[in-house]
C-alpha cells in the first residue's frame, strides 16, 4: 500500500519531465498527457484514501522511505514520505482540484501555442505540492516548498513577453525567498536543537526544548508561512500574481499552494503549542491579514485582484485558526478545504467571464452578464454564497467554526479575535456581493468604443483572434497575450466550452455540500484528530449567539454592497474615492513602501558598492602599483649617463660602507 505514495508524486513529475523535454512533437497530445497523469495521481490518492478509511484511526498513517537524500555524519535527510490524515486531506484536495483545473485549462489555453509547456508546469506544480505535503521531514518539505515556488514563478510569468508578468513572477519568487529564509533557519534551529528535522522525533520531543528556542523556531516557521500564504507583511506578491493565466490563479494562488503556510503551521502544531508567544504572533498575523485582504478586496475593480484580496483574507482566517492551537487546527484545515472548492470555483468563473469578455478584467466594464453565461453565473453564484458563509453552504460551516474558536480563545484576546473574525465576515459579504453585482447584475457596461490609443498595436495576430472569437472561446493568445488584444473588438459574451464549465460545476457542488458533509457529527474533525489533536473550544457566549451575530453582520455587509452597487449605476471609470479606498486600491500602500525602501534603497546600495569596489578595493591595489612605478621613474633619473656622477655614487657608497662597518664594530 505505502509503496503507492511515491507514485503520487512520480506521476505528475513524469508528466512534467516528458512535457518539458519532449519538444514540439508533443504539442498535439501534451495537454491530454498532462491531464491524464494528474488524474492518475488523483486515482492513486483515492485508492490510498479508501485504504486508509479501512484502517483504524490510530494506524492510518503510512510511511515510505526511498533512500537517504543527504547523509553527512549526524545530518540525515531521508527522501521519505508520510501519509497521514492531514497529508491525505491535502493530497485529495490537490489532486482533485488539480485535475479539474487541468481539464479546465485544456479549453482555456486551447489557442496558446505553448500549451504543452503550460501543462508541463502544471504537472511540475502538482508534483512539488504533493512532495510538500507528503514529506516526512522538514528538509524534504523545504524541497517541495521551493518547488511550488518555482512552479508558481514559471506559471505567473507564463506570458513572459509581458514585462508585467515577468516582473510579477520575479516578485513572487523573491518575496517567497524571504519567507524561505525563515524555513531554512527553522530547520537549522531544529537540527541544532533536536539533532534532526524529521517530523516524528522533532514533534515528539518538542516540549523538551527550551521555550525560547521553540519560540524562535515558531516565529521562523511563521515567517515562512507568511511568504508562501501571502500573509502580512509578505502578502504583496499575491495581487501581482494574478498576471498569470486564470487557471493558475485558481489552482495555485487560491486553492492549494497559498495554503501551504497553514499546512506548515498545523503540521508543526506541537512546536507552537509549546511556544505561546509564537502562537500569539500567528493569530495576530492571521487577524491583520484577514482584515487587510478584505479591505483590499473591497477596493479592487479588477475581478481577479478582488478575488486575490479575498483569498488573502480567507487564508488569514485559516492562519488565525491554526494559531488558536488544538481548538483551531481542524477548522483551519476544514476551511482550507472548503475554500479550496469555492475559491477555485470563483476563479474559474472569473476566468470564464474574462474569456467571454476578451480578457477584460475590469468589473466596471462588466454588468448584466448573467443572461449571457448562465452556467458561469450559477456556479459563480454558488461559490459566492459559499464564501460569504450563507447558511448551509460549505463556507458557513467552516468559517462559523473558526469564529467560534476565536471567541473560545478566551479573555480579551478571545473577544478581540472574535470581533475581528466577525468584522471580516461582514466585509467578505460586502466585497463578494460587490463583485457579484458588478459582474452579473445591473445594466451591461461593455459596449466600449474602440479606444484610439490601442489602435497602433493591431497586429496580424488580431485576425487569428477574430477567427477564434467566431470559433468560440478565445484562448489567451500566446502571440500577444491579453494585453495585446485586438482593438475595437466588441466583446461578445458567451458561455465557455464544456471542458471549462464541467470543472466549474463540479467545484460548485463542492462549495455547496463539502462543508455540510464534513460537519455531519463533525466527521472531519475526528478524521484529523489523531494528527492535529482536538479540543472543544468553549466560547464565552453560546454558539447560537455567535452564529446569529455572524448572519447579521453578513446581511449588513451584503446589504451595504447592494445599496452601493445594486441600487444605482456603477460608473465605468472608477470614482476618485475616499482616502481609504485609494489606499486600498494600492494594496494599502504596502507596495509603495517596498518600492521606496527596498527597491530604491537596494539600487542605491548596489550602485554605491560597485563604485566602492572599483575605486576603493581596486584603487588601493592600482595605487600601490602606480606609486611603485613613480618611484621607479624617479630613481631612474639618477642614471643620468655621466660617468662622474656614477663615480660619485660609488664614492659615497664606499663612504657609507666604511661608516657602517665601523659603526657595527662600535655598537
Amino acid at each position: 500500500m505505502e509503496n503507492l505514495i511515491a507514485l503520487l508524486v512520480a506521476a505528475p513529475l513524469l508528466g512534467a519531465a516528458v512535457l518539458l523535454c519532449g519538444g514540439r512533437r508533443l504539442d498535439a497530445a501534451g495537454h491530454w498527457l498532462g491531464t491524464l497523469l494528474a488524474a492518475a495521481s488523483f486515482v492513486v490518492a483515492a485508492v490510498l484514501f479508501f485504504g486508509m478509511l479501512g484502517r483504524g484511526a490510530e494506524d492510518r498513517a503510512l510511511h515510505q522511505t526511498l533512500y537517504t537524500w543527504v547523509p553527512v555524519e549526524s545530518f540525515r535527510a531521508d527522501l521519505a514520505f508520510q501519509l497521514d490524515q492531514l497529508s491525505m486531506t491535502f493530497v485529495l484536495l490537490i489532486t482533485g482540484v488539480g485535475t479539474l483545473i487541468h481539464v479546465y485549462s485544456i479549453g482555456y489555453m486551447e489557442h496558446d501555442e505553448r500549451r504543452r509547456r503550460f501543462f508541463g508546469y502544471l504537472n511540475l506544480f502538482l508534483a512539488a505540492m504533493l512532495l510538500l505535503v507528503l514529506a516526512d521531514n522538514y528538509l524534504l518539505l523545504y524541497f517541495g516548498w521551493e518547488g511550488v515556488g518555482l512552479a508558481s514563478y514559471l506559471l505567473i510569468g507564463f506570458w513572459q513577453h509581458k514585462p508585467s508578468a515577468a516582473t510579477a513572477a520575479k516578485k513572487a519568487f523573491l518575496v517567497n525567498r524571504v519567507g524561505d529564509i525563515g524555513l531554512s533557519i527553522a530547520i537549522m534551529l531544529m537540527f541544532t536543537t533536536f539533532g534532526t528535522f524529521a517530523f516524528g522525533p522533532v514533534l515528539a520531543t518538542a516540549d523538551k526544548a527550551s521555550e525560547g528556542t521553540l519560540t524562535a523556531i515558531g516565529l521562523m516557521l511563521l515567517l515562512a508561512a507568511c511568504g508562501k500564504s501571502a500573509q502580512v507583511p509578505l502578502q504583496s506578491w499575491l495581487g501581482d500574481a494574478m498576471e498569470g493565466p486564470t487557471p493558475v490563479s485558481a489552482l495555485i494562488h487560491a486553492a492549494t499552494m497559498v495554503t501551504a503556510g497553514v499546512y506548515l503551521i498545523t503540521r508543526s502544531g506541537a512546536i507552537f503549542d509549546a511556544a505561546p508567544t509564537a502562537q500569539t504572533a500567528v493569530v495576530t498575523v492571521g487577524a491583520v491579514t484577514l482584515l487587510f485582504g478584505a479591505i483590499v478586496g473591497c477596493a479592487k475593480d479588477d475581478i481577479k485582484k478582488a478575488l486575490a484580496g479575498s483569498t488573502m483574507s480567507q487564508i488569514g482566517y485559516m492562519v488565525l485558526a491554526a494559531g488558536l492551537g488544538p481548538i483551531g487546527y481542524a477548522f483551519a484545515i476544514m476551511h482550507l478545504v472548503t475554500h479550496g472548492f469555492f475559491k477555485a470555483g470563483l476563479f474559474l468563473g472569473a476566468g470564464s467571464v474574462m474569456h467571454g469578455m476578451n480578457d477584460e478584467v475590469d468589473m466596471r466594464k462588466y454588468g448584466g452578464l448573467r443572461a449571457y453565461m448562465p452556467v458561469t453565473f450559477v456556479t459563480f453564484g454558488l461559490g459566492y454564497l459559499a464564501i460569504i458563509g450563507f447558511p448551509g453552504l460549505s463556507g458557513f460551516w467552516s468559517k462559523d467554526k473558526i469564529i467560534e474558536a476565536a471567541f473560545a480563545k478566551g479573555g480579551t484576546e478571545g473577544w478581540i479575535l472574535g470581533a475581528v473574525t466577525l468584522l471580516g465576515a461582514g466585509i467578505t459579504a460586502y466585497y463578494m456581493t460587490r463583485v457579484m453585482i458588478m459582474t452579473f447584475f445591473g445594466e451591461k457596461r461593455w459596449q466600449p468604443a474602440p479606444d484610439p490609443h490601442r489602435a497602433p498595436d493591431v497586429e496580424p495576430a488580431a485576425a487569428d483572434d477574430g477567427r477564434h472569437l467566431a470559433a468560440g472561446p478565445v484562448g489567451s493568445p500566446a502571440a500577444e497575450g491579453p494585453a495585446g488584444h485586438p482593438a475595437g473588438e466588441l466583446p461578445d459574451p458567451h458561455e465557455s466550452p464544456r471542458s471549462m464549465t464541467v470543472p466549474m460545476i463540479v467545484l460548485a457542488f463542492g462549495s455547496v455540500f463539502a462543508g455540510g458533509l464534513f460537519s455531519i457529527n463533525s466527521a472531519f474533525v475526528h478524521w484529523l484528530e489523531p494528527v492535529t489533536r482536538f479540543e472543544h473550544g468553549h466560547p464565552p457566549v453560546s454558539a447560537a449567539v455567535i452564529t446569529t451575530a455572524t448572519l447579521v453582520v453578513l446581511l449588513a455587509g451584503a446589504g451595504l454592497a447592494y445599496a452601493q452597487y445594486g441600487r444605482r449605476p456603477v460608473p465605468v471609470t472608477a470614482p476618485r474615492g475616499s482616502l481609504l479606498t485609494r489606499a486600498a486600491r494600492r494594496d494599502l500602500l504596502q507596495d509603495d513602501f517596498n518600492h521606496v525602501v527596498l527597491v530604491r534603497g537596494g539600487e542605491h546600495l548596489t550602485r554605491s558598492l560597485v563604485y566602492v569596489d572599483h575605486t576603493l578595493v581596486d584603487g588601493v591595489v592600482n595605487g600601490t602599483a602606480a606609486s611603485v612605478g613613480g618611484l621607479s621613474g624617479r630613481l631612474r633619473k639618477l642614471q643620468n649617463g655621466y660617468a662622474r656622477s656614477y663615480a660619485v655614487s660609488m664614492f659615497g657608497g664606499t663612504a657609507v660602507l666604511i661608516a657602517a662597518t665601523l659603526l657595527m664594530r662600535a655598537v
Binding site: 611603485v628 649617463g641 664606499t654 666604511i658 657595527m664
Partner: protein, 589 residues
C-alpha cells in the same frame, strides 16, 4: 696554508738583510708568496750565515708550482697566447675559423681539466692550495671554474655568429667592428668593411678574460685577487668597445666601464694595502689567523697594527667595495646598465654571466675564508647591501624601455638575491649561491643570445616597443625568450625558481628571514616587468615596421638550446646539480 707558517717566522732582520745584500731576491717574478714561502728553510740558514760573515746569499730555491692543479688556468692562458700568435701569423680569411677552433678547444680542454681535478678529489678530500699559496684548488673554486668555462664556451659561440647580418660586400659579418681603431663612419672604416676585416682579436681577449676569471674565485691571497681582477677586466674593457653597430655607444660603454673599473680597482688596491698593513701579509689564511687572533708568533710590529681595527675594517670595506662593483650591487651598480646596453650583445651576455660568477666566487672566498671572524661586522652591512640591491634593481627596471638595460637591471636584482644567499654564512649558503650562479649564467647568456636575433635596419632592435607582437611573428623565439623571462622571474619549473628557493632557504636557515621577505617582495615587483615583456610579445599587435627575426647559424642555436635545456633541467630535476654544489660548499683554508 702550510706555506704561511713560514713567513710568520721570518724575522725582520733577515728581510732587511735581504733587501740590502740580495736585490736579486725580489727579481723573483713568481708570486711573492714564493719569496717568503721559500724563506721557511732558507731564513734560518741565512741568519746563521750573516752572523758569521757577509757572504752573498746562496741561491733561493725556485718556487714549486703544482702545474696539474693549475691546468685549467694554464690551458686557457696558453691558448690565449697562441691566439695572439694566430692573429699575427694566420692569414685573415682563415683567422676566424682558426681562432674559433682554438678557443673552443681550449675552453673544452680546460673544462675537461676541471672535471679531472674534481674527479681526482681536489674538490673535496684533496682540496688544497697550489702555487705556493697563491691559488686555492677546492670545491667552490672548481665548481665556479667549471661554470665559467661552460658559460664562456656557449658565449663564445655567439661571438662567432656570422649569419645574423646580411653579408657585406660578400663578406660574412659578426657583431664586431671591422676595424675597431677606425673612426666610425670614416673612409678607413668603409675600406676595412670592404676588405672584409673582422675583429678576430675578440677571441684571444675573451680567452685572457676567462683566464682571469678562472683565477679570481680561486685566488688565495689579495695580490692574486687584484691581478686576476685586472687580468679579466682589461680585456673586457676592450671587448666592450668593438661593436660593429652603434659604435659610439660601444666606445662610450667602454670608457665608462674602464674609468669606473679602474676607479674601483684603485679602491680595492688601497683596501688590500690596509689589510696588508693590518695583518702584515696578504695571504687569506694569514689574515684570517690574525683576525681571529690565532696567529703566532706575533712580533711587535704586528702587535701594534693588530691593535688597530680601523685598518682592518676600512680595508675590508674597500676590498668589499671593489668586489661589489664587479658584482653590480647597489650603489656600485651604475655602470651596469650603460655598459650592458653599449657593449656588443654577445659580450654583454658573456660579461653578465661569467663576470658575476667570478666576482661572487671571490666575494664568497673573501667573506668565508678571510673574514669569518669578522662575521658580526660584515653581515649587517651585507644585509643592507642585499636589501637595497634587490629592491632598487627591481624597482628601477619597471620603467626601462630598452631590453638590454632591462636585463641589466634584472641582473642587479639577481645580484641582490645572490647576496641574500651569501649573507647566510653557512655551507648551505655557499652551495645555494653556487647553484644560483650556475643557473643564472646560462639563462642570461641565452637571453642575450635571443636579443641578438631580433634585428632591424639599425642592427639589434633593442627598444621594447619594437618587440611588440613578436610572439605572432615568430612564436618559437618569443616562447624561448618567454622561458628565459620566466626563469628570471623565478616561476616554478624553471631553474630560476630552484635557485631562488635554494638561496631563500639558506637565508632563512641562516636566520635572515627579513631578507627572504624582502626578496619575495622584490621578486613580486620584478615579476611585473618580466610579465610586461611577455605581454608585449604575445598580446599586442605586431607593428608594420617591426623587426625581423634572423635565422641564426647552429652556433647561436646551440647557445640558446643549451640555455633552455639548462633552465628546464635545473628547474625540473635539480638534485644532481644541487649535490654538486653541496659537495663544493666547503672552502679550503
Amino acid at each position: 696554508m702550510s706555506a704561511w707558517s713560514g713567513s710568520a717566522l721570518s724575522a725582520p732582520g733577515v728581510h732587511s738583510l735581504w733587501t740590502e745584500s740580495a736585490p736579486g731576491g725580489t727579481a723573483d717574478a713568481a708570486a711573492h708568496g714564493a719569496a717568503s714561502g721559500a724563506a721557511h728553510e732558507a731564513a734560518h740558514a741565512v741568519a746563521r750565515m750573516t752572523l758569521a760573515a757577509a757572504r752573498p746569499v746562496e741561491r733561493i730555491p725556485t718556487p714549486k708550482i703544482e702545474y696539474a692543479q693549475l691546468a685549467p688556468v694554464l690551458i686557457v692562458l696558453g691558448a690565449a697566447v697562441i691566439a695572439v700568435l694566430l692573429e699575427a701569423f694566420v692569414p685573415r680569411r682563415f683567422r676566424h675559423y682558426a681562432q674559433l677552433f682554438l678557443t673552443v678547444v681550449a675552453l673544452a680542454a680546460a673544462f675537461a681539466a676541471v672535471v679531472g681535478l674534481a674527479a681526482g678529489g681536489h674538490a673535496t678530500t684533496r682540496a688544497g692550495i697550489a702555487a705556493m699559496g697563491a691559488v686555492a684548488v677546492d670545491g667552490p673554486a672548481l665548481f665556479l671554474q667549471g661554470t665559467i668555462l661552460l658559460a664562456s664556451l656557449v658565449a663564445v659561440f655567439t661571438f662567432a655568429e656570422r649569419r645574423l647580418d646580411p653579408a657585406d660586400h660578400g663578406h660574412r659579418v659578426d657583431s664586431f667592428a671591422a676595424e675597431a681603431a677606425a673612426v666610425p663612419g670614416s673612409e678607413q672604416e668603409k675600406a676595412a668593411v670592404r676588405a672584409g676585416f673582422t675583429t678576430t682579436e675578440v677571441f684571444p681577449l675573451a680567452l685572457f678574460a676567462v683566464a682571469g676569471m678562472l683565477v679570481f674565485p680561486a685566488a688565495n691571497d689579495l695580490l692574486t685577487l687584484f691581478i686576476a681582477l685586472e687580468v679579466f677586466s682589461l680585456p673586457l674593457y676592450l671587448l666592450c668597445a668593438v661593436a660593429r653597430r652603434k659604435r659610439l655607444m660601444s666606445q662610450e660603454a667602454a670608457v665608462k666601464y674602464f674609468l669606473l673599473g679602474a676607479f674601483s680597482s684603485a679602491f680595492l688596491l688601497f683596501g688590500i694595502a690596509l689589510l696588508y698593513g693590518y695583518a702584515g701579509s696578504v695571504s687569506y689564511g694569514r689574515i684570517a689567523d690574525v683576525v681571529d687572533g690565532s696567529a703566532a708568533p706575533v712580533d711587535p710590529a704586528l702587535a701594534s697594527t693588530m691593535g688597530n681595527d680601523a685598518l682592518l675594517l676600512i680595508g675590508f670595506a674597500l676590498v668589499l667595495m671593489g668586489l661589489l662593483f664587479k658584482v653590480g650591487a647597489v650603489p656600485f651598480h651604475m655602470w651596469t646598465p650603460d655598459v650592458y646596453q653599449g657593449a656588443p650583445t654577445p659580450v654583454t651576455g658573456f660579461m653578465a654571466a661569467a663576470t658575476k660568477v667570478a666576482a661572487f666566487g671571490a666575494l664568497l672566498r673573501l667573506l668565508y675564508v678571510v673574514l669569518p671572524g669578522l662575521r658580526w661586522d660584515w653581515r649587517p652591512v651585507m644585509w643592507g647591501v642585499a636589501i637595497v640591491t634587490m629592491l632598487a634593481g627591481a624597482v628601477v627596471a619597471i620603467t626601462q624601455t630598452d631590453i638590454k638595460r632591462l636585463l641589466a637591471y634584472s641582473s642587479i636584482a639577481h645580484a641582490g638575491f645572490i647576496l641574500a644567499g651569501v649573507v647566510a654564512a653557512t655551507p648551505s649558503g655557499v652551495s645555494s649561491v653556487l647553484f644560483y650562479l650556475a643557473a643564472y649564467s646560462f639563462v642570461t647568456i641565452g637571453a642575450f643570445a635571443v636579443v641578438t636575433l631580433v634585428r632591424d635596419a639599425g642592427g639589434e632592435a633593442t627598444h621594447l616597443a619594437k618587440w611588440a607582437g613578436l610572439g605572432r611573428r615568430s612564436p618559437l623565439v618569443a616562447a624561448v625568450f618567454g622561458v628565459f623571462l620566466l626563469a628570471f622571474a623565478g616561476i616554478p619549473l624553471t631553474s630560476g625558481f630552484t635557485g631562488k628557493f635554494a638561496v631563500f632557504k639558506a637565508a632563512a636557515e641562516g636566520g635572515a628571514g627579513v631578507l627572504v621577505v624582502v626578496g619575495v617582495i622584490s621578486s613580486a615587483i620584478a615579476a611585473f616587468f618580466y610579465i610586461r615583456v611577455i605581454v608585449l610579445m604575445f598580446f599586442s599587435e605586431p607593428q608594420a615596421d617591426g623587426p625581423t627575426v634572423a635565422v641564426p647559424s647552429p652556433l647561436t642555436m646551440t647557445t640558446i638550446g643549451v640555455g633552455v635545456a639548462v633552465t628546464l633541467v635545473l628547474g625540473l630535476a635539480p638534485q644532481y646539480f644541487l649535490d654538486l654544489a653541496g659537495q663544493a660548499g666547503v672552502f679550503v683554508r
